[in-house]
Symmetry: C2
Subunit: 234 residues, 2 copies
Amino acid sequence: MNIGLEKYRYYTELMRDNDLFSDISHDALDQLLEISSAQYWPKKTCILDPTHTLYTFYIILSGKVKGYVFDDKHDRPLTLFLLTQNDVFDVFTLINGEVRDIRYETLCDTEVLSIPMYKLHEWIHQNQDVYKALLKYTTDKMRQMENYISNLIMEDTSIRLARLLYNHVNPSSRHVELLSGLTHDELGALIGTTRTMIGRHIQAFKEEGILRTERREIEITNLALLLQKISLNT
Amino acid sequence: MNIGLEKYRYYTELMRDNDLFSDISHDALDQLLEISSAQYWPKKTCILDPTHTLYTFYIILSGKVKGYVFDDKHDRPLTLFLLTQNDVFDVFTLINGEVRDIRYETLCDTEVLSIPMYKLHEWIHQNQDVYKALLKYTTDKMRQMENYISNLIMEDTSIRLARLLYNHVNPSSRHVELLSGLTHDELGALIGTTRTMIGRHIQAFKEEGILRTERREIEITNLALLLQKISLNT
DNA sequence: CGCTAATTGCTACCTAGGTCACATTTATAC
DNA sequence: GTATAAATGTGACCTAGGTAGCAATTAGCG
């Protein structure tokens, strides 16, 4: 990484905070940063080529990335997971060396470290401790995925939307910053439903006094009511 | 393990075939078998206590086990995954040491190796190579789970049932042995729907000449038609 | 065997949520 | 600004799949 010292320190701090690398020695972390390069991805940057993650591994420093598959039958994308600070992708291709048909797209401006796979493999070979950390990481993701599955089957779309909003509201500003600027189509993709449904639910939430919208900004006006909607129906 | 030599050899062979332990030395595998005890679980054996897997780890030698959560709202169980030969559970509690609210139940007679967690932790400490194998194992499970999610959202219940049958049919006998003996309620739990729906679809499949039933035995009479049902609608 | 409980088949009905259509509003480009 | 495209609001309508109820069948057990 040929960057300024200040930036370098910033990356080191971020990596040090990442549970995946907390057991890694200072030297090893330096070596990892050596083979990494920082990238800035503006909102809506896409990785559409599924083979791309065969050759490059990413560590998210800030921002949000969604991983999704495309549903040909209904002609719509379907989000499988959201990745954010300290997440990495794609562990599956890193370990198994196989392509899988998942695409990525940034939901907001995002900073990542990009690492060539073959260099990362070399680094991991010298730092086998990371396997344990990666295992903890993936089992944790797996639990999240199990929750997502039960959520999908057990809850209806309005509760899923309420939960999405609640999980991403900024407690101080009451704005749902992550989701602001997304169209109803995109919100639908995040919870596995259609723009029509999103529109209807948002209208309903407005009437119930839960939220207010203005130019694709969503502001929660009554957080208690929103929370109630999630927890009552379980 | 104080068992006959023959049984012991049988277990060793099974473990040797398990990808999780293929990189483990002969000695280490012996040590693992030392701390294991074999158990035979008849069909419908349940592990209802979620804390149980905090203290015991299982390796499935033969049979099938489903992991599920209970949906209080609809008052029905919902299967998250099926485990079979060479699967282990629960990796999450092994690594994170936390309980999670998942129950287990055997779908047919099942043989497992049971290992006390604290002994397994000691063993793993001496055999850190297993982390890499476990990581491969979990990432693979994760991909299966992703497929399950897209399946749930994209396909309707009849296709999910068709796929369930297709995945478990014995190609030579044409019988769906795993699912034979299960009630419609239990089949419903496996694909996230109700007994009514299962009944309707099975009736429909009969009329289409896809299958035949007799005393809870399901026999596929036209495999091509079944396959067509799965693959046409994607 | 014969009794009881569980399972199934089937009907009628209801609801969530999807599709389609089209007017209205908002963004973006020129 | 205006023209064009994109996004939204809203209506009517349709379908999958859920619920409830009950009769018919089957399994399990003394």
